[in-house]
Symmetry: C2
């Protein structure tokens, strides 16, 4: 029988890996569809607003990576116990996304000199602003990003923060043991560990 879910993205981790982690964690079988960059122009018009990732389920298609991850988190029981807990989880996810967006600016900038300036500003201003505050939050949450226990916010952090290392070319979390441990805890979950071993090797 075909899997109930199909996740379509580029052949990379990027904005799809949080959702892949969540499905692997929860044992949800899914088709991991990866579009080659050179085939993207012919695929792009087929997706809502010309974007990936998209999730397909029971004949329906929907986009937006964080929305998809939140939905999957509900399916695998990695959400809050009440509305306020979910607000706290959503807020930290959106904060991590703000930090991610600063790195995305590097990705979309074609000019090499400007790319360099973006990285310099991230290292000088962005990371020193965000990381100590996030570190403090994890400390208060017993090693987790929110609500004092494992939620999809930790999965979002684990998958998104590894991009920071790639973009900045450094061990971004070297001085932030709590943030590093929070990522490591997700990566060490048996189902995730196994997925990391077998997943396609890509730059991003």
């Amino acid at each position: 029988m075909a899997p109930a879910y199909k996740l379509t993205y580029f052949d990379g981790r990027g904005l799809a890996e949080t959702s892949r982690f969540l499905m692997k964690y929860g044992g949800i079988d899914f088709e991991d569809c990866r579009i080659k960059r050179e085939e993207w122009p012919q695929w792009k018009p087929k997706f809502p607003f010309g974007q990936v990732p998209v999730l397909e389920h029971k004949g329906k298609v929907v986009g937006q990576s964080i929305a998809i991850a939140r939905y999957l988190a509900k399916q695998v029981k990695l959400v809050g116990n009440d509305d306020w807990e979910n607000l706290e989880i959503d807020a930290i996810v959106d904060t991590i996304n703000d930090l991610r967006m600063k790195h995305a600016a590097w990705f979309y900038e074609p000019d090499e000199a400007k790319k360099k300036v973006i990285i310099e500003n991230i290292k000088k201003d962005t990371l020193p602003y965000y990381l100590p505050r996030l570190e403090e939050i994890v400390k208060k949450n017993k090693g987790f990003l929110a609500v004092g226990r494992l939620t999809w916010a930790d999965f979002y952090w684990a998958t998104v923060s590894q991009v920071f290392d790639v973009v900045n070319g450094i061990d971004t979390l070297a001085n932030y043991p709590e943030l590093k441990a929070a990522r490591e805890r997700v990566n060490s979950l048996p189902a995730i560990k196994k997925w990391i071993e077998v997943r396609p090797k890509t730059d991003f």
Copy 2:
């Protein structure tokens, strides 16, 4: 008795107005705290990641405008009936936010010449890409942004799309009757109509 909720933002509609609309709609009493621009530097360090809006409730404080709006939408019953409906609502909200971010670039750009270029690109590329697709979605959803009935996606659209008119200096939705009607439907709800009449008059 003091209201159970306090929403703190600048003295403007901006990123707080969706949440104000939701609370007005649902009859939730709240303190509408507005920080003066000149007092912002002394307030900024007090908020999570130095940002507003923040919502305070039972001694807890949380940021991120969309996360707050989603939480309030649950309290006033403007969410989906199941997880997939909520995914569809979240996805369209994030798509509208993508469109909003293009306008936010104008807001944060200090250089007047560059500001002009941003507006030109929005008019030439961004709006013609997003608006026909959004119009089609509203058509399919019986006049609503998602799931064929009134949800907080409509509230998000109503409050965010008015910013497009202000930034672009045109009636952005002139050729998009469905999108305009969707906004108008929210603005015409009795509680919202009343709020629009009495709320502080601000540029944004």
